[in-house]
């Protein structure tokens, strides 16, 4: 059997990067706001349409398409926050209520996209050129190379923002003790809006990068949401390093499954993976990496 190791590695890396972007969004929202955002996939789909609309009517320049997608994703995040988080966050049983609310937003939004744009998939213009990048003896398809570079860059910036800036510090403080956060002047609602806009924009970036190989459609957010949730759960909900490690593993599993078993087994092996992880470590991989938890 002829197996191209380089191809598997690059596919694994691309998928891993994109899943990490999605899982970071799910994980950061859960950790700071205590909400499982079922509408993260909607942000993803909306961002795809934002990018498509930008390419259609404004400009096909790569930065414009990326920016349009991230802007649409961020706005969608703000909308989800103002409907599902702000009115509900201090009411009893917030966890379940917000789960139901975000699920409802997701269903409504997807049907709205279906009504507005129709069921046909749209394609985005190639952002990174069509000629493959050669580097040493390796050839990397331009869309995958660009996706890897953009995703790593944005993830790096997000991690830097989380660890270095005042706002990032506030988000982490809010994750760990909401009352203590309020006592140092951190407003839950304004922080929530920032977090949701940021994670929406991350979903938007993932959407534009993934649409280089797949297409933009109303339902395009469903599978990425499931995978983002898988990765976030396997990484330990709320753990940022855990999400990154789990994303790399899930991407690798998907690439290996695709190469050796065939694409139809991808979801099966991924779910087996998360079941195995949760049996072995019920709190996910993140428990291994975070040095202090109470």
């Amino acid at each position: 059997m002829d197996v191209d190791i380089g191809f598997i590695a690059i596919t694994a890396l691309t998928l891993g990067c994109i899943y990490a972007l999605l899982a970071l969004g799910v994980s950061i929202v859960f950790a700071s706001l205590g909400m499982i955002n079922m509408a993260h996939g909607l942000s993803f789909a909306v961002a795809g349409y934002g990018a498509w609309a930008t390419a259609q009517w404004l400009s096909t320049a790569p930065w414009a398409v990326l920016g349009g997608g991230m802007l649409a994703g961020g706005l969608c995040g703000l909308l989800i926050c103002s409907v599902a988080f702000i009115p509900l966050h201090d009411k009893p049983n917030f966890v379940v209520r917000s789960l139901v609310a975000t699920l409802a937003i997701s269903l409504l939004g997807v049907q709205g996209l279906l009504t507005a744009f129709g069921p046909n998939a749209k394609s985005l213009p190639p952002l990174f050129g069509t000629a493959p990048w050669t580097w040493g003896g390796w050839q990397i398809p331009a869309d995958k190379g660009g996706a890897i570079v953009c995703a790593l860059l944005l993830m790096g910036l997000t991690l830097l923002w989380m660890t270095r800036s005042r706002m990032g510090l506030q988000v982490r403080a809010m994750m760990q003790n909401p009352e203590g956060a309020a006592l140092v002047g951190i407003g839950v609602r304004s922080t929530a809006l920032t977090v949701m806009a940021l994670t929406g924009a991350l979903a938007g970036l993932a959407a534009v990068l993934l649409s280089q190989t797949y297409f933009v459609s109303p339902f395009s957010g469903t599978t990425p949401l499931v995978k983002g949730l898988i990765v976030a759960l396997a990484g330990g909900l709320g753990s940022v390093p855990g999400a990154v490690v789990a994303a790399a593993l899930v991407g690798l599993i998907e690439a290996l499954t695709g190469a050796f078993l065939g694409g139809q087994y991808v979801l099966i092996t991924q779910f087996l993976f998360i079941i195995a992880v949760l049996l072995w470590r019920p709190r996910g991989l993140g428990g291994l990496l975070d040095h202090s938890r109470e």
Binding site: L169, Q176, N177, A181, L183
Partner: protein
């Protein structure tokens, strides 16, 4: 004459069906250090939490430097706390409200929540480390791994990072060994409140006697006796 630092009128507060505070009235003037003395369960912490907007419900007026931060409220505890804090309140609560995974240095940074304080945070941190000397070598440790006395110091230092009008210190000696609690109280006495004021809730009267401007007694949710 400028408005008092804290003026409380007809404040009642509690949790669910339970009323803990019954129509309190008191005033704290600029430059004062006040001890709030009372036994466990008589409402000292609830009074502080009501001033911070952290009780389940409350009614009555709370004026911080002449600005109304109280009023009638039921439900949503903590919803306005950050605004009250930004109006000039530093509340160091019982249990310290620490962030277990953040380091001591990050806690102090968190305490510098205004842009002015954020710019001067290094200098302020240095000043506070002179007061809370044991924290100096722990700056990079996660606070979840510290001892009770060290956590108390982190919580106090965090509250002192941004200059406030009113400092509310809830039982600084609770759960600490006598020697350490004396050190913590000494540190609090070193803090210059300037035109602000400090209220310290305490069960151990001896620890504060002679070191505060006056004492308020608290019994069954009412202020009884003062000196």
């Amino acid at each position: 004459m400028s408005a008092p630092v804290l003026q409380v009128r007809g404040l009642s507060a509690g949790y669910g069906p339970l009323t803990v505070l019954h129509d309190l009235d008191f005033t704290v003037q600029a430059g004062e250090r006040v001890a709030l003395i009372g036994l466990n369960g008589h409402g000292k912490s609830t009074l502080f939490r009501a001033i911070s907007g952290l009780t389940d419900w409350q009614r009555g007026s709370v004026q911080l430097g002449g600005r109304e931060v109280g009023g009638q409220r039921s439900g949503s505890p903590g919803r306005h706390t950050h605004r009250i804090v930004r109006a000039g309140l530093a509340h160091m609560p019982q249990g310290d409200a620490i962030f277990p995974g953040l380091t001591v240095a990050q806690h102090l940074d968190c305490g510098a929540y205004t842009s002015a304080a954020w710019r001067q945070r290094r200098q302020r941190q240095e000043e506070l480390l002179c007061v809370f000397e044991p924290l100096r070598k722990l700056l990079a440790s996660p606070v979840g791994t510290l001892s009770g006395g060290e956590r108390r110091m982190v919580s106090l230092a965090r509250g002192l990072m941004t200059p406030a009008k009113l400092y509310l210190v809830d039982e600084p000696s609770l759960g600490l060994a006598p020697k350490i609690s004396r050190a913590v109280v000494d540190a609090l006495m070193q803090i210059d409140v300037g035109q602000g004021a400090m209220v310290i809730a305490e069960q151990n009267l001896a620890l504060l006697s002679g070191r505060v401007n006056r004492t308020l007694g608290m019994h069954a949710g009412q202020l009884k006796g003062s000196a």
